[in-house]
Symmetry: D3
Subunit: 298 residues, 6 copies
């Protein structure tokens, strides 16, 4: 064997060893369901978005059953501005009138959902977009009459999602819902993700966001919590020190855990390959919340 060939082989062997290091994780998660929630921010940089989609395709190639759930806050705000539609607030929450709901749905389905599905389908043909209106996935009621078409989930129908997963599709779910009269509602995407993770019996709920994880004290960046259990998270929530934007995420996690999901994660979506790092390395990143108390052997 020439020296050059030997070097090439050595280099390739280093790479295959990476694969082998990941083997226990592959084996552990093969066939398991993972619910990953992304915000609309994911699409603000198309290179990141492509890289994220590639990671999702890889997870599926490695045997995981992935469901994506997304909102679209930034894009909705942007569209409303461009149409000179003014935001109205009641008790600090944005009022969603019929026109706002329509614009919201147009952004979520016509822009974000479609773009994610297109990106994913450049690597295959299994991604399928849907919203909670399809097959009455999310049955809702108005959360607060003063807020208009802001929905609270009454029930989740796991069957259409399970049907897609069992036929090897990758569902991409926009956080809209409907009531029995046919009214549609905007739903907080974190909340939708937690409910869906519970309904489909996910093994992991992963919330991608733009902070590193949960901080004991948000001001002190060194107070990032790597791991805590459900009880710890409840105490933290009761403590009142969480950032406002973190509260629906924490509630989503508590919903999922109480419904039997064993692990939930808050990760920084700005880190490239954040999802792969979390699933396929021993250390993980961000904050992990376990359903049960921490034990030495997981």
């Amino acid at each position: 064997m020439t020296k050059k060939l030997a070097n090439k082989i050595f280099d390739l062997q280093k790479k295959t060893e990476t694969l082998i290091e990941m083997l226990p994780y592959v084996t552990e998660f093969s066939g398991k369901r993972v619910l990953i929630k992304v915000g609309g921010e994911i699409l603000e940089d198309m290179n990141s978005a492509k890289s994220f989609c590639q990671d999702i395709i890889l997870l599926r190639a490695l045997g995981l059953q992935v469901v994506l759930c997304h909102g679209g806050g930034p894009q909705i705000t942007k569209l409303m501005k461009s149409m000179n539609k003014e935001a109205v607030f009641v008790r600090g929450q944005r009022v969603t009138d019929a026109e706002t709901l329509d614009l919201t749905a147009m952004v979520l389905l016509g822009n974000i959902n479609r773009t994610l599905v297109s990106l994913l389908n450049t690597f295959g043909k299994r991604a399928v977009g849907m919203s909670g209106v399809d097959a009455r996935l999310f049955v809702c009621r108005a959360k607060d009459p003063a807020l208009g078409f802001v929905g609270e989930i009454c029930s989740v129908s796991a069957r259409p999602i399970m049907n897609l997963l069992n036929n090897n599709y990758l569902p991409v779910v926009a956080s809209l819902g409907m009531d029995n009269e046919g009214n549609n509602y905007n739903i907080n995407a974190d909340t939708a993700a937690g409910e869906l993770a519970k309904a489909i019996g996910a093994q992991k709920l992963i919330l991608l966001t733009n902070v590193e994880g949960i901080y004991e004290n948000f001001e002190d960046k060194s107070s990032l919590i790597s791991e805590l259990d459900e009880q710890g998270l409840r105490e933290l929530l009761a403590g009142g020190t969480l950032a406002a934007g973190m509260i629906p995420k924490v509630e989503s996690i508590l919903t999922a855990l109480s419904g039997g999901v064993p692990h939930a994660h808050i990760l920084d979506g700005r880190i490239e390959h954040a999802v792969l790092l979390e699933i396929f390395t021993a250390e993980g990143i961000g904050t992990m919340v376990r359903r049960g108390p921490q034990t030495l052997v997981d």
Copy 2:
């Protein structure tokens, strides 16, 4: 038995006889697939839209497998106007730049598709919206570089639709597609309907429009054609007397017939229960095109 009761029963019996008259059609179409194309106009009057959705639910209750396909011309035009986006034309056809495509997708998915699905799901929970981007249902290429993102269908993937039908769902398909690089395209909804009818082996293709049917001479309303065969339709098309808007419909029908769909219909969607009249009565309405030559016994 009192006279009043006897009258009531007599009245009910008349109604059940209507059912019995329809029995041969129910038996004939039970388990068959029907592709119905509606334009965006269907949503301009919500009462008509509800009535149409109720008809679709009834078809399903009577054992048909229905797939809806829709476009959204009027609503797209309206949104673009409201955003002061000017239309550009090349050789008489509207140019679809990236922004126009985005607005088109927002209308089709966020407004029309979602509204149809919501209406259908007030009667149940089986309607599921999708577009040709989902599961790469419609793989496209640009029809003409000068037109931008106007797509021509290269291939149709029947499997995701068949999966939904086999699991008792009602697919509602928006006429968008994608290419292998992830670009999305607007597709003529009549064309999409014909291709889809062929791909899923539909028994009938029904195009709902706002004329009574095909006229021998469009100016002479008494020249409405009730029935003709594929050969007759080809001759009519070659004759050059068809109205411009009718041409994509005729081409859609020819696609479907050449792909094995035995019957195609052009119906006036403004007539209430047009679809039921066509399927469940002997006479039918509008224009029917048969694949083979006309015979006494069908």
Copy 3:
């Protein structure tokens, strides 16, 4: 559109509205099992018999799973007379010796069952005749040694019926049974119907008879009861005012209700389309017995 065509369409629309009125009932009963018991009288007028069979075929076309159960009293009596076979009575009940049983079986299977199946199969090919001897559907013992081969049902085997239903057949069951030694027995057809409705988990038991329903006081035809619950029916039975022929019907209904069948009906089979009127209209006819107490919302 010509005036004539417009009129035709208007007329057809009225008919389709009948269909739409029936939609909620179609939706409600689709896929549900209904056990319908007819007496031998149904075959005394062949036009009525054909009309009845057509109704049954329609119920199946609309998605119901129908099981027919029948006796054959009048025809048995007639055959015995023609053979100068004298009836013997013990404590007011007819004694069934071996020869009588043989004649009974010949009438039930060779005449009534076969004729019903033939009529049903002029509309298709799914009707299949059987008796409780086939696949040991009804295992019996002698009800009273003095009565000979009059059977009391010990157990019902739902499996052969479910196998037929699941393969889209329409079982037509004659009320005969057998014991473990191979002796055959005549069973009261109302009783058999109630037991079978219970065994297959029917949603409705319908007993067709030649009275309008249950009367509070049989002499007073204005005392017909439209609706009552299980408790009410038990009280009525205990009250001792029921006509003798009504008692096995009431006991059959109580068997079915106690086994989980939610609704049972006694209808006048002489009314044309009685079964359709009951299932597909809001008012219903005859007497309905509910398992639970009457509530505003069913």
Copy 4:
């Protein structure tokens, strides 16, 4: 071991060796379909009938899929006599008017079919009676208008029989049929058996009768033919020396062979265990007809 025990074991071993001798036949026929036709004579002696039924149950226990087909000539004649119904003949064949057909059906279904099913079900619960009217198993037309309701088979529907076999039931088929208008017909049971053997792809057709087999010359009992092929049988039939009663049997066999059934047998049903002797011993009894020419290695 005591001498007595040793003797007992020796005796049992002899018995098990019988089993082992039969092993190749069990292996050969396991899972194969066998159509056995019996005449009404089988029920004239109940001990023989029970023994026959026990043999059938044993065949099933050894893995064969058995279908029984029966007529009922002697019993029909007897019933007609008892009712003083006179037989009318046209060109030597009995005319079957509506009343005769009705009596025929009563005997076949109410007496013979039911009795066979009852006897079989004393050993289990898998026997299911039916006739060619059920599920339109045998679609017929009148063989000769002068003969009335004597049927000629137009088509056989294998599906209802296959459904029963696949669900481990034992179909017992009476030789009646129907036409599209709902008229019923009496069919020659040998003919029905041959058609049914062909339709279900039987491996063997066995016609039980009351002669030893086919004789070269019926008068000379030493001219019994043990084995011949299809060609030989056609020649024999053309030769014109066959007994009249043998002709429908020979035609039935030719139907089955031409439809792909590899072997057909005419056996003497009066010999106890005739069916077992044929299937599970090397020599066989009666006359065997092979589809192909005789070869040394079968």
Copy 5:
């Protein structure tokens, strides 16, 4: 019929009556699982071995699902002698070092298992050899560190065996196992058989050995016990009069019974057709142990 033919038929009828006598047993055991353990002695005489394999094939042809389990004591001892490998004993039990284990595995898999599978496959192609190492069928730990690689079963995985049975294969299992680190162990074959019978829900456990059965007093050959129940067996074991070689057999039986296996048998494998005699005759041979107390009706 000639006298000679009549005699032949009479002779064949006697044979078929043997079959009919066995019918109740065939019916009783059809589709049931039976675990049969043989020692290596079975292969010491190839004629006996062939006869035994033929019996097994017959059991399968008659509808039983058979699993064989075997050890190989005599052959292991012989191989070790031929290699001058000396046996070492600790507290009366043979020490199994790595080399001994390797020789044991070579004998069990390369010689005994393969020979049994080959013999069985001369009658078909369904026998499949395996050991407790395959699919981690038997997970073990060292029974006693001083004994080396002598294994104690920690868990049994029924799934690979059930997969083979459900696909109509005949598993032949050598009594080896492995631990989580990949070490292999020799397991007592009687013990393995009892555990396996329990894991697969066998209807019978049959231990073939070279004594007639269990003796109340081993010295007194007239004290053979035909039948006893679990309680009786426990008392016998506690009584301390059992021969040493019988103890693992008795413990195996107690394992199986406590796991729900209703009957276990110790038979003398030297009696030809011992297994058939046990299963297909009323008297049985050897010793039968019932799970529950003895009752008149089994």
Copy 6:
């Protein structure tokens, strides 16, 4: 984020990029069948053997269906020496008498097959050992009477292997076979691998050996051939310059290619992760033979 954490994440990201590079190969081979043949040498160094087994488990985790086939030359020779069994040669080929065959089987099944299965099952529980005797996988005849029990494959039964693969097992096949009389034969493992690859419709046949690949001229190590097509390989074989040990490998490859296997590879098993390098990198190692002519786009 701390510098240290950022570094850790950067490091992990580099690793996940390795995964992403491999994604196209994972996608390409997911669900495909690969037949890998190893020689007995693989077990001469237990660390290499473990590493090899880990690679196999990884292939399975990444979605490939792997079948292993092995021989055991070196170990057989070693055992025979240790038993002072002398090798006899006829025309340059070793004679396999009954005793030699027995020793061969003991080594192949009791040692090599069991050890490979044990190693694989330390990472899971799906590996299942078998030989061509099981389920008559390889039916053989003697290749040459003078050579004794050296087998030539007459037929391969894919079903038992497909059954294991479909149930997610990993078959490990020793190269033994049997004839219809039950005689066992030693088969060349390369030959067995080629036949098996063809029978199961493998996408790749990989022969691991202890040379780098095929040399144009074995003496000139720089003449290693990276890639050639079937035609090229046939010419090379006809040229007569191949090393003797390479000939059965080349014939095995030609068998597989002619049976539809698109690619075959000869790899140096001494290179760590050789199989992963071949499957999951663009360059590959060793020699690849394509079925069709070389094209730019594969």
